[in-house]
């Protein structure tokens, strides 16, 4: 599991467009396009280079009224997918520890 104290930031993104309640992201040298559904779009908007994963998990809990454990699990998986697609990275030296 990813360290919840890490701060994710967006990278490698050329263009972001909201369409309906989804987000389309054009990224990378090959201009790949990714689609985020409504939940993914909310999480994406939370990634601002300032908030830690812990803070994002809390926001997801509040927005979708889900238990913290589920928010952490599902959001964490989504974050890993974004990382795998090189759409985000983590600020290693800005790890923030806060109590939930």
């Amino acid at each position: 599991m990813i360290d919840p104290g890490l701060v994710p930031y967006r990278r490698n993104v050329f263009h972001v467009r909201e369409t309906g309640n989804e987000i389309l992201i054009i990224s990378g040298k090959r201009n790949e396009i990714s689609t985020l559904n409504s939940v993914g779009s909310f999480i994406w908007k939370c990634i601002d280079g300032e908030r830690s994963l812990e803070e994002i998990y809390l926001l997801v809990c509040e927005e979708f009224d889900v238990p913290k454990k589920i928010a952490c699990r599902d959001t964490g998986r989504f974050i890993e997918q974004l990382k795998k697609k090189s759409l985000i990275a983590f600020r290693q030296d800005e790890k923030i520890s806060k109590e939930i």
Binding site: H15, T19, G20, E22, I26, I33, T35, N37
Partner: protein, 287 residues
């Protein structure tokens, strides 16, 4: 043809003129594209020179992303194609390595012609896009079947023999009077019995294989994304290939979504998919 070295490649409402070095080159291109005599001046005219060789160069998948140059001059595919085009007078000159004109590699050369089409279109303010898709006109309605290689575009064409198959590889989606139309192109897929035609674009289907024929609704994002991926970049010969092009493609995909129903079609390799298409019209799920 009056000029035996001439090819006239009519795509939608524009004509690309190629003046070849020899009648043999022109004959080969006319045969490959199934070109018939086309009267009237072309919208752009390009002198085509064939150069020996090209085997030493790796054939790229794209002449768009391997395009360099500026000020009307271009090099594509690491030197397989080089030339210049002046959009002000619509004339140009291109040098092509002979290996690129051989079947099946000539399909890569078609990408040069896609760019030539867009150049010709710009000169005429012709609002049309080339799309990697199969197109069928059935009962005066145009149907677009979009999908990556292997998803069934040619199968759709082969199972639609009683209708007008305009193409199984590259079709034209033309916009006029705030309406989209499906048209054919001379570019070649595996289905060679393509026919000309034009019809209002009624529905766009995103293809995938299935155990049974089924039509599914898809999200706006997925619909736009899939169409985005199959639009041939609207880059003319005079244009550099830049990331901004992708924003234009996204705009066009969104516009198409706004105006034409886009659905997912899962199908088996038989003509029964037309029955499920008829069903959604009867059910009023497509206007």
């Amino acid at each position: 043809m009056g000029n035996k070295r001439a090819c006239r490649i009519k795509t939608g409402s524009v004509v690309i003129g190629l003046t070849c070095d020899t009648a043999d080159v022109a004959d080969n291109l006319n045969t490959y594209f199934g070109l018939s005599e086309c009267t009237g001046p072309p919208d752009i005219d390009i002198s085509l020179h064939v150069e020996p060789g090209g085997n030493e160069i790796d054939i790229p998948g794209s002449l768009f992303t391997t395009k360099t140059g500026g000020r009307g001059g271009f090099i594509m595919g690491g030197g397989l194609v080089r030339g210049a085009f002046d959009p002000r007078n619509g004339s140009g000159e291109v040098f092509v390595k002979e290996t690129l004109l051989e079947v099946p590699v000539i399909k890569v050369f078609e990408q040069f012609l896609f760019q030539a089409f867009y150049s010709a279109g710009k000169r005429n303010n012709y609002d049309a896009l080339l799309v990697h898709a199969s197109g069928v006109i059935r009962r005066r309605k145009g149907f677009l079947f979009v999908g990556a290689s292997g998803k069934g575009k040619t199968t759709i064409a082969r199972k639609s023999g009683e209708y007008i198959v305009v193409n199984d590889e590259i079709v034209l989606v033309e916009k006029a009077d705030d309406e989209y139309f499906l048209r054919g192109t001379p570019f070649n897929g595996l289905f060679r019995e393509k026919a000309g035609g034009k019809a209002p674009l009624t529905c766009c289907f995103l293809l995938d294989h299935g155990k049974d024929h089924r039509i599914e609704e898809i999200s706006q994002g997925e619909a736009i994304k899939t169409v985005f991926q199959e639009i041939v970049p609207p880059v003319g010969l005079e244009d550099r290939f830049s990331q901004e092009v992708y924003m234009e493609i996204l705009d066009r995909a969104e516009d198409l979504y706004r105006m034409v129903p886009i659905k997912k079609l899962l199908f088996r390799p038989d003509a029964g998919f037309w029955n499920v298409i008829d069903d959604i019209y009867r059910q009023g799920r497509v206007i």
